[in-house]
């Protein structure tokens, strides 16, 4: 999460998602997965309900800019979409933070593209 000025974390067009930005603008999958495991279903459902209908808008907005030249707030928005993906499976499929029947398994994503 980038917060250089103390101002809004997201582009003005997505001000409605600002209440979720501080918690869910996370740059890496391990950070997003950890936040998911630390969250209640109510936390994730609130975020999902607010953000799910804005995903297409976010994709269309971000596609106007070169992927490698996104501003800090644009990159935050991208990370917020990644987090929406991260919570969508608990909300839509598992109805719990952990994957059902995953036992003790834990996969560490140690390499991923940026952003």
């Amino acid at each position: 999460m980038s917060d250089p000025s103390g101002g809004p974390l997201l582009p003005a067009e997505f001000a409605d998602l600002e209440p979720f930005a501080r918690r869910w603008c996370l740059a890496t999958e391990p950070a997003r997965y950890a936040e998911r495991l630390n969250s209640t279903m109510a936390d994730m459902e609130a975020f999902y309900d607010a953000a799910f209908g804005r995903v297409r808008d976010a994709m269309a907005y971000l596609d106007r800019f070169p992927l490698q030249e996104l501003s800090a707030t644009q990159e935050n928005l991208l990370h917020l979409v990644y987090s929406l993906i991260m919570v969508s499976l608990p909300v839509e499929v598992w109805h719990q933070p952990r994957v059902i029947d995953s036992g003790t398994a834990y996969f560490d994503r140690y390499l991923e593209p940026a952003p």
Binding site: V81, Y82, V99, I100, G103, A105, Y106, Y110
Partner: protein, 429 residues
């Protein structure tokens, strides 16, 4: 022998009479003694994939790889001529591990012109030649040319880097891979390089996890949640429509659930996130706009069963390397590195074409997240299976026709160990 009530031609297992159809022992996955044999018979003799050429982008690029199973570690480097080379990661002076970071157990990567030992400062070129010895004049009858790094056989196939720890491999890499795996030749791996890589330490024998990913009999039960609730059933199974073996390697191809590719299912048979982002377990809905990934231009060996529709071909390359190629223009790899008879270190990488915009990157992310969660379910069974097998309450287990791949892996493993033991006996005789 064909299964009762099933015509012989309908049995995949029946096409390979050497495999038999009898009960199977997994003693090979619970015995410390057998593991010691595998280390010699398999991991010091087979060609092993250790990475891809994209990990060595320029002259001087290198990475290290620990091979606990062979009680060694290697350095893979691109030399000043651009050639990919492999060396044991051991200094010729006093046996210190040459290249490492943080601790000798950590793997590392980077770019350099020479490797310098942290102990006494001996330096080696990227070609393995010893270049500098501190106070060389104090050594006796000493010629640096006599002390290069110990090289390891190293070959590149379709951008995949393989090593072979034998003094003299009994087969070249193309011979070892054989025609079925070489059917992948021509797939544009070099255009599919956006990588998401994972590691896990798992509490089972390496073959038990290979087994979990090489049959689809488990799919409708363990992964029942891949279907929306209205479609879930523990009564109707899933069957992959094509199986093949070639030497020690195996192939399974799938054509989608009930023959329908995931992205063509009615919307009410998907989870909401899939149509919202237009991607899912099988990849982004839209195939990349890359001519080389158009099915018409793909190598015929990718889908040797000629399935239509075709979704995935799962190449199981002996002993511990897997490539799954997806029809939607991406692929993944698994590597299983034994660390003891009942533990292994596992690696997974997803590869997509480089994202041209945020939407493509977001679609890759959704595929990577959903696919990983399916993998977590597969991994979730492992310690339970290992515990059950180690109880030795049962010594023989049945396998169905579509678990031919499981049968084949354990048979090939046994064959390699027996062949090694015969050769050892012949040498001693």
């Amino acid at each position: 022998m064909a299964h009762a009530g099933k015509p012989a031609e309908a049995s995949w297992t029946g096409r390979y009479p050497d495999l038999g159809t009898g009960l199977v022992s997994y003693e090979d996955s619970i015995s410390p003694e057998f593991y010691e044999l595998e280390r010699e018979a398999i991991f010091k003799r087979a060609w092993l994939n250790v990475g891809r050429v994209e990990q060595l982008p320029r002259k001087g690029s290198f990475f290290t790889k620990n091979l606990d199973v062979a009680k060694t570690a290697v350095i893979i480097a691109r030399d000043m001529d651009g050639r990919v080379r492999a060396f044991h990661n051991v200094c010729r002076h006093r046996g210190n591990k040459l290249v490492w970071e943080n601790t000798p157990k950590h793997e590392t990567s980077g770019v350099c012109r020479q490797f310098m030992c942290r102990y006494h400062g001996w330096r080696y070129g990227l070609d393995g030649q010893l270049k500098f010895v501190l106070q060389e004049e104090e050594f006796f009858d000493f010629d640096k040319a006599d002390f290069p790094l110990v090289s390891v056989h190293c070959e590149v196939w379709e951008g995949f880097i393989f090593i072979n720890l034998a003094d003299e491999p009994s087969q070249t890499l193309p011979e070892f891979l054989g025609p079925m795996v070489r059917g992948l030749e021509g797939y544009p791996f070099h255009l599919v390089t956006e990588r998401y890589a994972y590691k896990a330490d798992l509490l089972s024998n390496w073959k038990i996890y290979l087994d979990a990913f090489q049959e689809y009999y488990h799919a409708s039960v363990l992964h029942s949640q891949q279907q929306v609730p209205s479609l879930r059933s523990f009564e109707s199974g899933f069957k992959a429509p094509y199986y093949q073996t070639d030497g020690p390697h195996r192939l399974v191809s799938t054509g989608g659930w009930k023959g329908v590719p995931r992205h063509l299912l009615p919307r009410d048979q998907m989870y909401p996130i899939e149509p919202n982002i237009e991607a899912g377990l099988m990849g982004p809905w839209q195939r990349p706009d890359i001519p080389e990934l158009d099915p018409a231009n793909l190598p015929a060996g990718l889908n040797p069963g000629g399935l239509d529709p075709w979704s995935i071909s799962n190449f199981q390359i002996f002993p511990n390397f897997v490539i799954l190629v997806y029809e939607r223009g991406w692929y993944l790899t698994y590597q299983y590195w034994p660390t003891s008879h009942n533990t292994h270190s596992w690696e997974m990488s997803y590869y997509f074409p480089q994202s041209q915009n945020a939407s493509e990157r977001i679609r890759h992310e959704l595929t990577a997240v959903i696919s990983k969660e399916a993998g977590l379910q597969d991994a979730g069974t492992l310690d339970g299976t290992q515990m059950g097998l180690e109880s030795r309450v049962i010594d023989r287990y049945p396998l169905s026709d579509q678990e031919i791949t499981v049968r084949h892996l354990h048979k090939v493993t046994e064959n390699w160990v027996q062949s090694y033991l015969r050769a050892e006996k012949a040498v001693r005789a």
